[in-house]
């Protein structure tokens, strides 16, 4: 392959996002020398891993041309179910992680059935399941703070660094990410995910099972969100109401900044990784510079708009 061919194959959004990351790192280093220390960067990656796991599921759903607004409370369900199970001795305690992920998977399947079989617009259907998830958790905790247990496995996954000092959370994200890349690039399922985003009708006419693929993607998204909730609960050894709320906007922003079209059918996982790192670094920089919450919100929103203006514009309607 010629160098020109290679260059053309590289995603423009990925280049732009990487460029923004480099600019952020340089700006951070100019502000504070410690910004570029390996320890700090690894810590940022660890924080990014939680967002990265959520963004993986969001990306699958967005590739279909749908959106999942039930993330906040599915993350919370993941956290609360795992800590609740961890509070039990015996088999329930040791199965904390599978129980939590299965709960998220179940909500995801409901989302998928609503979107694929009932044909309710995903935005409004996932909004309703988010409300139900919230209702379930309010009943579950009776309005009080839930149990604050985390199994050793949860703690190990979220906090410890087993291999070469790399945080386990980053390894977990890497494994999930590698799996996603293989599925998206190398399997019929993955190609059809992209195809559905471009034209559901075409996939239907070429004998693809559109509905089953949509349900599967929403199910994976639910499982990813719940698993991120498990990691977050392991990280802080507690689960609390609305712990997932701060993750909806960053997750969608990361996916879109990574070059995935919000209309579906276009986007790479590498771009999503870049988007996640970018959003995490931006949040971290704004908190290091001790800007007030008000200023942080304004800058955060403005930076996302500006970055999208640079490379996320849609085509002009001409005919």
């Amino acid at each position: 392959m010629t160098i020109g061919g290679l260059f053309r194959r590289i995603d423009r959004a990925l280049v732009a996002a990487t460029g923004c990351i480099v600019v952020l790192l340089i700006a951070g280093a100019l502000y504070d020398r410690n910004f570029l220390s390996p320890d700090y960067l690894l810590q940022q990656l660890q924080v990014a891993a939680f967002l990265g796991v959520i963004a993986t599921g969001v990306m699958l759903v967005v590739l279909l041309g749908h959106i999942d607004l039930s993330i906040p409370w599915v993350v919370t369900i993941g956290g609360m179910m795992s800590t609740a199970a961890a509070g039990h001795d015996g088999w329930a305690g040791s199965l904390a992680i599978p129980i939590a992920v299965a709960s998220g998977l179940a909500i995801g399947v409901i989302n998928g059935i609503g979107v694929a079989y009932l044909r309710v617009p995903s935005m409004i259907f996932t909004l309703a399941t988010n409300a139900i998830a919230q209702g379930l958790m309010v009943v579950h905790t009776s309005g009080f703070a839930p149990e604050d247990h985390a199994t050793p496995a949860m703690h190990a996954l979220a906090v410890e660094r087993s291999i070469l000092g790399i945080p386990n959370a980053v390894v977990v994200w890497g494994v999930i990410g590698a799996g996603t890349v293989v599925v998206l690039k190398r399997t019929t399922f993955g190609r059809r995910v992209y195809a559905i985003g471009n034209s559901e009708r075409a996939v239907y006419l070429s004998r693809g099972n559109v509905r089953r693929i949509v349900v599967a993607c929403f199910a994976i998204a639910g499982a990813c969100s719940a698993f991120a909730g498990v990691l977050l609960a392991g990280y802080s050894t507690k689960a609390y109401q609305a712990m997932g709320d701060p993750y909806l906007l960053p997750a969608i922003a990361a996916v879109v900044l990574g070059g995935t079209s919000i209309l579906g059918g276009r986007g790479t996982y590498l771009g999503t990784v870049a988007g996640v790192v970018l959003v995490t670094l931006l949040q971290s920089m704004l908190s290091i510079m001790q800007i007030s919450e008000a200023g942080r919100q304004v800058i955060y929103g403005a930076v996302i708009i500006v970055m999208l203006l640079v490379y996320g514009r849609s085509a002009k309607v001409v005919s």
């Binding site: 409004i124 909004l127 919230q134 309010v138 919000i262 929103g301 849609s314």
Partner: protein
């Protein structure tokens, strides 16, 4: 020829099915609420219900207009909260100052809407992500104006807005009707209003037919900002203070989308309108009231609300039974 008139009526009924259903649902639910309420149909009960409903109805109308163009405005809740903060600082003092303050609040809403419109039309960003980002900015400005809850509003003005006319008709309902008559109906009949519906049906076709696409989209977002600001003003009149409550803004944004859908406006654009949205908003608010009068355990109320919402948005799926070709199920 009577048959022709009958056909016209049938078409009109078919086109207004969503709003009519929402209106019927609201009437039934509100009747049940009044019957079950210990105080019955007292002016106080009606006034409280009206104020809560009008608040959501205004935010939901704001959401309706961009949705008609097959867009979305996820910043309506933030504009609502921001104008609450502005109103708690400026709408005070003499009647003249109050008038100036109200004008400032509305101008603030128009400005936010104009920024959204610019980003969506000139910037050509997807509305869903662009307004999510501008919404964060408006919340930031609101926090800057009111780091802590506080402020005040001219109480005479506030009491008029939230009170009842002749102890019977809630003033907020009159305000809502006035807003619909003065802003929505002229807009709906104007070139730009019809353009909004055309864009929602097919942007390409609208463009090729010489519809002012850019101008109509821009105005849709500006009007959304205006309606959200009016809602923020009413909120300030209810609470006598301002608070940069991001959670409140978020919940209003999400409820507004739900109200739009329940009111029969298509999220894909091109069909529906503000009247249906108003009933949609009142239906959503009455659900909460019903849970209250039926003594549902407060802890399970959010769950009930969620289940009712899920059922409400799934009702539209009955249209699938009428689809004859399976290909038509897919887009």
């Amino acid at each position: 020829m009577t048959s022709r008139r009958a056909t016209d009526t049938r078409y009109w009924l078919a086109s207004q099915r969503g709003p009519l259903l929402a209106a019927a649902l609201f009437t039934a639910m509100f009747a049940l609420f009044v019957v079950e309420h210990p105080a019955g149909l007292s002016a106080n009960v009606v006034n409280t219900a009206a104020n809560k409903g009008v608040l959501l109805a205004l935010v939901a109308i704001a959401q309706t207009i961009p949705v008609l163009t097959s867009g979305l405005d996820l910043s309506v809740g933030s504009v609502f909260v921001l104008s609450n903060c502005v109103a708690s600082s400026l709408v005070a003092g003499s009647p003249g100052e109050v008038a100036l303050g109200v004008a400032a609040v509305l101008a603030c809403g128009l400005l936010c809407g104009a920024l959204n419109g610019l980003v969506v039309v000139i910037g050509r960003l997807q509305p869903i992500i662009a307004t999510l980002a501008t919404g964060a900015m408006y919340t930031g400005v609101a926090l800057w104006l009111r780091p802590a809850p506080g402020g005040a509003i001219n109480e005479d003005f506030a009491d008029v807005i939230t009170g009842s006319l002749g102890d019977r008709v809630p003033f907020s309902v009159i305000l809502l009707v006035a807003v619909v008559v003065v802003i929505w109906i002229p807009y709906r009949r104007s070139v730009l209003g019809r353009a909004a519906y055309a864009i929602g049906s097919s942007e390409q076709a609208a463009y090729m037919s010489g519809v002012p696409v850019a101008r109509a989209k821009f105005v849709a977002y500006v009007l959304a900002g205006l309606f959200a600001a009016i809602a923020g003003l009413v909120l300030t009149c209810l609470t006598y203070s301002g608070e940069a409550n991001a959670l409140l803004g978020g919940s209003y944004t999400l409820s507004s989308v739900a109200a739009v859908v329940v009111g029969g406006t298509s999220l894909y654009g091109g069909a529906g309108g503000a009247i249906g949205t108003i009933f949609g908003a009142f239906v959503l608010r009455t659900i909460g009231d019903l849970l209250f009068v039926f003594d549902i355990d407060p802890l399970s109320q959010p769950l009930f609300l969620g289940v009712v919402l899920l059922i409400a948005v799934s009702l539209g799926s009955f249209r699938l039974l009428k689809v004859k070709k399976r290909l038509d199920l897919y887009r």
